[in-house]
Amino acid sequence: MSELFKNRHVTGWLMASPLVLVLSVFLVMPIIMIAIVSFWGATEWSIYPAFQFDNYAFLFGSDVTYRVFFNTFKYAFITWVFCLGIGFTAAYFLAFHVRSLTWQVALFLLCTIPFWTSNIIRMISWIPFLGRNGLANSTLMSWGVIDEPLEWLLFSDFSVILAFVHLYTLFMVVPIFNTMMRIDRSLIEAAADNGASGWQTLWHVIVPLTKPGIMIGTIFVVTLVMGDFITVRFMSGSQSANVGRLISNDISLLQYPSASATAVVLLVTVLLVIGILLRFVDIRKEL
């Protein structure tokens, strides 16, 4: 027995086993379960175990699926563009313009303050701001910028994306800031020594060296947006759909097999997207 414990493979597996156990019970098993259920059959009032492709056939046969997937990608892409733009700028400011470490830490903590409240509350608080008689409209009208309330401010793609950007930009700031802090400052001096202007330094030195951080942030934002359903429901006033809402609707109708099939397709899609992203940038150094 004691011989067995001396074997490093055995001790290695023993040390890894608690995590393996947790992950297999709470991650791997449910996914397998979902995959199995996605092949089951369903009638209006019952679900029965089977191995059939009806759910997938229906999913791929319906043009709602394609529109909803397209919408999901649209949200993910637009949110990504804004999160990247804002996140990169904020991280750049923190990393390169704020000189003292104390201020860097203070401002960084300031960025995380919104996370002290729940997602839902932060989302809902936009509603009185953006509504027809909300703060934004009444302010703009009192300034005379507009004569009638803007209808597209709330319950529109605009408000959905606004909420997404608000919720998820920090997921872009953190990894980019982290990567930027590891850039040797003398590289920037070296670029200046070689005649690079500020923009050239940004484009030829800082951006390439920040790529791993950008990629990690991208993975966060894309997976969060693609898997979301509550933001889309609240902020679009149930007028827009993404894949998450499709699944949640099926579940509320107790159509588990159909929900599972959609979930499997979504999972595969997200994994493909991440797989493609990882082909562009090697993030192993960051982990």
Partner: protein, 327 residues
């Protein structure tokens, strides 16, 4: 003898808040010299170099290169190039791209850029590794690439910030002879910051010793070594004894000291250590006033009449070997 490419510092000053890192220094670097800025850490030598390079703003004073005030120009417009202590090679670019970086910034087309980079790499003997990334190079190789990258801008003055400190001792000695050779070949000025006196002595035509934000002594290397002006210079350069005598402090080179019978010599004391160093023996004695004085004797002289720790000994030197020091 002044030339068009002399580099002159005119009461150059650097202040950080209340502290003065460089205090109104004046110096003229003649074109084509290898100069070393030598001093302990915090003496202001690096700040001086960084002001010359343009990576630190000049608080006061001027930097003149060929009569032109370059003290407030951007780094690349000064006619200087800097080689960084950690080399600062761009980790995402290969050797050729690193060397050609400044040409890329100028918008030179890729073929020309590559050709010019290869010429520079040939100069530092690195053409065979042109496609490697900096991570895949040894310290010495990285340094050559950094040199090539600095030289491709055709600088009139190359500024080197402790270029050898990241190398192991063996490589350091080799790279310093290469630096020296390169400077001779190119005929441009090298200004090299170091805290190692052996490095400065081995490389420099001219030494500028700095301490406490000012230049303590500057001049041709041998002049500075042979006639240190202050106790600080004598001690920092090493191989000197600073001895307080009735007429004031003097510096005497350790190898100018010889043993004599006590009573018949300028100093007498008791031996506290004897250290064998191969070709020489270093003998340290404690003399009046609790001063420690080291004599460097050739092994033949010492073993001809060996001495032991604790023995009384007289120390003598030629009158011309003692240099009075400024307070």
């Amino acid at each position: 003898m002044r030339s068009d490419l002399d580099l002159e510092l005119v009461s150059l000053t650097k202040r950080y808040g209340d502290t003065t890192a460089v205090d109104a220094i004046n110096h003229l670097f003649h074109a084509g010299t290898y100069a070393c800025l030598l001093g302990p850490s915090g003496c202001g030598k690096s700040s001086t170099l960084r002001m010359l390079a343009g990576h630190e703003t000049v608080s006061d004073g001027n930097v003149l290169l060929g009569g032109r005030d370059i003290g407030r120009l951007p780094p690349a417009k000064r006619g200087t190039a800097m080689m960084f202590q950690s080399y600062a090679l761009f980790p995402h670019l290969n050797v050729t791209e690193n060397v050609g970086f400044s040409l890329k910034m100028k918008g030179t087309d890729p073929d020309k850029r590559r050709k010019a980079a290869m010429e520079m790499l040939e100069l530092v003997d690195m053409t065979h590794l042109a496609d490697r990334l900096p991570d895949q190079l040894s310290g010495g190789q990285q340094q050559r690439v950094a040199l090539a990258r600095a030289l491709i801008t055709r600088p009139q003055v190359l500024l080197l910030d402790e270029p050898l400190s990241a190398l192991d001792p063996f490589l350091r000695v080799r790279m310093r002879s290469e630096l020296r050779k390169l400077q001779k070949e190119l005929g441009i000025s090298f200004i090299h910051v170091t805290h190692g006196q052996d490095e400065a002595l081995a490389l420099a035509d001219e030494i500028v010793v700095m301490n406490n934000a000012v230049i303590e002594q500057a001049g041709p290397t041998r002049d500075v070594f042979d006639r240190p002006a202050t106790a600080f210079v004598a001690q920092f350069l090493g191989s000197h004894n600073v001895i307080s005598l009735a007429e004031g402090k003097v510096a005497v080179r350790s190898d100018e000291l010889r043993l004599a019978t006590p009573g018949a010599a300028k100093l007498e004391g008791r031996i506290i250590t004897v250290e064998y160093q191969g070709t020489h023996v270093a003998l340290t004695a404690k003399v009046a006033g609790d001063q420690e004085v080291t004599a460097l004797l050739t092994d033949k002289d010492f073993f001809g009449a060996p001495k032991d720790v604790g023995e009384a000994v007289g120390l003598d030197w030629d009158g011309t070997a003692a240099h009075p020091l400024r307070a």
